[in-house]
Symmetry: C2
Subunit: 585 residues, 2 copies
């Protein structure tokens, strides 16, 4: 029981030196990748670089205790950083100590929401976000982030919450471009693209092993950071207008609960909910992908608790919202991480960096950080999936297009909310159109099949409808319409049989609809029967008055029903007994 | 085609003298019932009495042209009047000309919304409202209306948008009760209850025919109005503080489009949407009930257009939102209405009343009108359904309780919105838990059944999951979890077969989940197969790359799949050929 909520109790007991060696190696590689990422993602969020480092320490320890994925690398990620900037920037002026404090509050609220969802086992809420909406959201966010970072490449100032505003702002300031900054930025982008595409091949060609070559290739951003910092320092380019990271306070994060301010909390609650859900969905899909490769399992509800405590930890240690990152987790996996302890070791690496490396980052040009962001987020942009969705399903494409348009023209939150609203509409639309079929007898057998697809025997006086799904409020009205339509369209009909072989649940709405159908058919002189009602459904119906009022009968099998109501039409050639196996699905 | 949008073209062509005679008689009886009702419902809406008459003329003509129910009686109804008071009262001070104008605007917006929903065939949106929520809403609204009318019975002033506020306001003013008003109000309530319960029996006892006795019994409110008016006029009770209806302007409604005011329109849009949906749901359920009794059909989408044009008509002729009323429609049906023309004739009756009868209503005491309201709405209160819902389904009861609590403590709109939000949550919850079963072979047959319910043959290396429903975004993640769980839990598993006999649709999310499952199972060394994929589903899958990447095969039948993957476990005793009829559902 305790180990369900503290997964560390399970894997921690059998922790060994061999596991430690693997986890520690993975932690070193992930740390190298995470140092520039944590600075860059803080920049996306509009926060000073040290906040990125803070968000990469305690959350990783919390996840090691509460998380269920052996390879998920928790920390700042691009999309959640963008959402943080959007949420906090709407309330507080970007940059000041109030902004930093509000970002920590946002992490605390996000953490609490995830924790409550996890303890209440409400992870199904994440199903609100369909794949096309997530894909559209990630792609649009990637483009939005890339656009928002262009100001650092050009060395100008530009603002805007949506793509249009950002592009306008860039266009109106483009004349003030700093040429040296632009050269550094462009060179960084070029270098990163080249290392990303060719460094691994090159290293393999010179004889390095596959895994080592892959790991070093992932250090491209670190190499760019070192090179650019050295150049700026050597030529004092900061004096020529190149924006640099500057002083990063040395030391470990400040601990302490952010001050409670009811107004601020309620203003941030909506954004925190979106960050919680999107962060969770992203994280879980990475974790599931990696777990499956080793036939491991993750616990969807416990993941909510793992990410919830991670965000709480980020909030009480001067950080901002975090989640499981895709690229970093893959590197962690490839580097051989075997337990969540790898994450805890990574946090140790970041702590050492925060204590000893920050002075070395003084001359790091912001343009190079922006370049690492642009190259990273452009890999999120997935045009293929947009094209494939268009080919496969126009309604899913519509939801995707609404999400992308929402992000571009109104900002990230509006985009997600519009997409989710569209998802719910689609869900309701689908649920309101249950599949059903009028069935007839396959000649000479006890089988009853769709009259539109099979040559079957039918009767003018007995009609049977098979509902292929549960009966509940979303389709109760359609059920009424279809069954009453059977009576209205064929005046000769005397009996209607509802075949319930695929019905696992009848809710109150559907029960009342069945009662209404029964009454209305009675008024129309038609008897209403049920067949193949499953055991649990029947048990619940017995607790109501429905069966007392039912004008017809409840038959165990469809053949039994149809034979009893019209023996001259529905019969078996040699009067063979009913097969046992057709009475239950 | 034209007659689809103008149903009058269908029934109008064969209109005859005999139909006219029946419709006209029904119209006379409904008119007698509608005169006091229209005044009373205007009072609930906080509008002067003539507005109630206006709302009972043009809307009925519009419905006669566009509606599809032969017996639905459109006009002002209690719940929609309450919602009007709540919506308009929040924006404009009750009573003045601006209030009246805003109520007409509300009707126009409601009409436009219904019209758009109808033309776009979006009637499924009404499924948002489950039966328990509607039942809870109607019951709570009935109690709220009854409480709000108590001030007229007592002759005091009281206000409040929710039950608590109304009761507090009543309590603080109860000392100012006007005794004569109270006597008139109490006597009216008593008279109405008695006529409602016993008048029909009495009339039958003295020899009247069933139908005539029933019709006269429905005139109880009119008799109360006549009697109370006569008493007040005879003793000049208005001079003793009894509030009377007073001057009702004579004549036909003023025609004209309400002035467009973007601010007002957007403030009323949300309320108009709720009124549209609730009015539609109420109206359709009455119309379906009555249509079924005569084996007639109504067209759910065209009903949106019928009610939409009715509300538009109400809005441009000085009225307020209308819908099909339950009690009046039943009277119309019982009185023998045979076509929508009966409604048009009723509007003629109301027009005559507006032209010639209004002076006679001068002394009508408001207490008597309030009494007719209280007696009418208390019949909406349905405690039995609350109890039965509790017994049948705790989750449905929760949705109902939230709706009732919302209406009582926060007002009608909050109540409905909270109920609908709860419905959506329940829908999503259910959709996220699709029924599925691991299946095994019924020994010696080609049938595969749930291993939990049947003694079936299973194999350690081949596992098959049957999904009982469509695969789409709400359950895609659960599908991943279940299938990957099968591989993770049993290391001996080499093949997983997804049995798709109940799958009629696979959306983009589920397709991507299937692709992810296929990839992840491949990583885990497990081959992934499908069986019994339906024709249309297969056609769409062929438009994607999924089948190219699928590690396993797509089998026509479940037996074929299992036999091919583990012939030593799954076979038929005498090698009998596959039965044709098990390959398609």
């Amino acid at each position: 029981m305790l180990s369900r909520y503290f997964p560390i109790l399970r894997w921690g007991r059998s922790y060994s030196a061999s596991l430690f060696a693997d986890d520690a190696l993975a932690a070193v590689i992930v740390t190298i990748m995470l140092i520039p990422q944590s600075l860059a993602y803080a920049m996306i969020a509009g926060l000073p670089p040290e906040v990125g480092l803070y968000a990469s320490m305690t959350p990783l320890i919390a996840y090691a205790v509460f998380g269920t994925s052996n390879t998920l690398a928790v920390g700042p990620v691009a999309v959640v950083s963008l959402m943080t900037a959007s949420a906090v920037g709407r309330i507080v002026e970007t940059g000041g100590p109030e902004y930093i404090a509000a970002a920590a509050v946002l992490a605390v609220i996000t953490g609490l929401i995830l924790l409550v969802l996890g303890l209440a086992r409400l992870g199904f809420l994440a199903n609100f976000l369909s794949h096309p909406i997530i894909a559209g959201f990630i792609t649009a966010s990637g483009i939005l982030i890339a656009a928002s970072q262009m100001k650092h490449i050009l060395g100008i100032s530009a603002h805007g919450e949506n793509l249009l505003a950002i592009l306008q702002s860039l266009a109106s300031h483009v004349a003030q471009t700093n040429p040296i900054t632009l050269v550094i930025g462009a060179a960084s982008i070029l270098f990163l693209f080249l290392t990303r595409s060719y460094l691994k091949k090159l290293l393999r060609a010179v004889g390095l092993k596959e895994r080592l070559a892959a790991a070093i290739a992932k250090a491209g951003p670190l190499l760019a950071v070192i090179g650019a910092t050295a150049v700026v320092a050597a030529f004092s380019l900061d004096a020529k207008g190149v924006a640099i990271v500057g002083d990063i306070p040395r030391g470990l994060p400040p601990l302490g609960m952010p001050r409670f301010d009811a107004g601020l909390w309620s203003e941030l609650a909506g954004a925190a909910f979106l960050i919680a859900i999107i962060g969770y969905v992203e994280s879980v899909s990475v974790a599931q992908t990696l777990a499956a490769k080793r036939r491991e399992r993750i616990d969807l509800d416990q993941e909510l608790i793992g990410l919830g405590t991670s965000n709480l930890a980020a909030g009480v240690s001067g950080g901002f919202p975090v989640t499981g990152g895709f690229a970093r987790s893959v590197v962690n996996f490839d580097a051989g991480a075997r337990t969540p302890a790898a994450g805890a070791f990574t946090s140790l690496g970041i702590a050492l960096a925060a204590l000893f490396l920050t002075p070395l980052l003084y001359y790091l040009p912001q343009a190079t950080l922006a370049a690492t962001i642009i190259v990273a987020v452009l890999s999120l942009v997935n045009i293929r999936i947009i094209r494939e969705t268009w080919a496969y399903s126009k309604s899913d494409f519509t939801a995707m297009a609404i999400t992308i348009g929402g992000v571009f023209f109104f900002g990230v939150e509006t985009g997600v909310v519009a997409g989710v609203a569209m998802s719910i509409l689609l869900l309701l639309y689908r649920a309101s159109r249950p599949h059903s079929a009028i069935v007839g007898q396959v000649p000479g057998t006890e089988h009853f099949r769709n009259i539109k697809r099979h040559d079957v025997v039918t009767s003018p006086s007995v009609v049977s409808l098979r509902m292929d799904g549960n009966l509940f409020f979303a389709n109760a009205r359609v059920l009424e319409d279809r069954l009453l339509g059977l009576a209205a369209d064929s005046p000769a009909v005397k009996h209607i049989v509802l075949m319930c072989s695929a019905v696992n649940e009848i809710d109150t709405s559907a029960l009342e609809s069945l009662e209404a159908i029964n009454e209305r058919l009675k008024d129309a002189g038609v008897t209403f029967h049920l067949s193949e009602v499953k055991g649990p459904v029947m048990d619940r119906l017995k607790r109501t008055h429905f069966l007392d009022h039912l004008t017809g009968r409840v038959f165990l099998s469809q053949y039994e029903a149809m034979h009893a109501l019209d023996p001259e039409t529905f019969f078996l050639p040699n009067g063979s007994p009913l097969a046992m196996d057709d009475q239950t699905a």
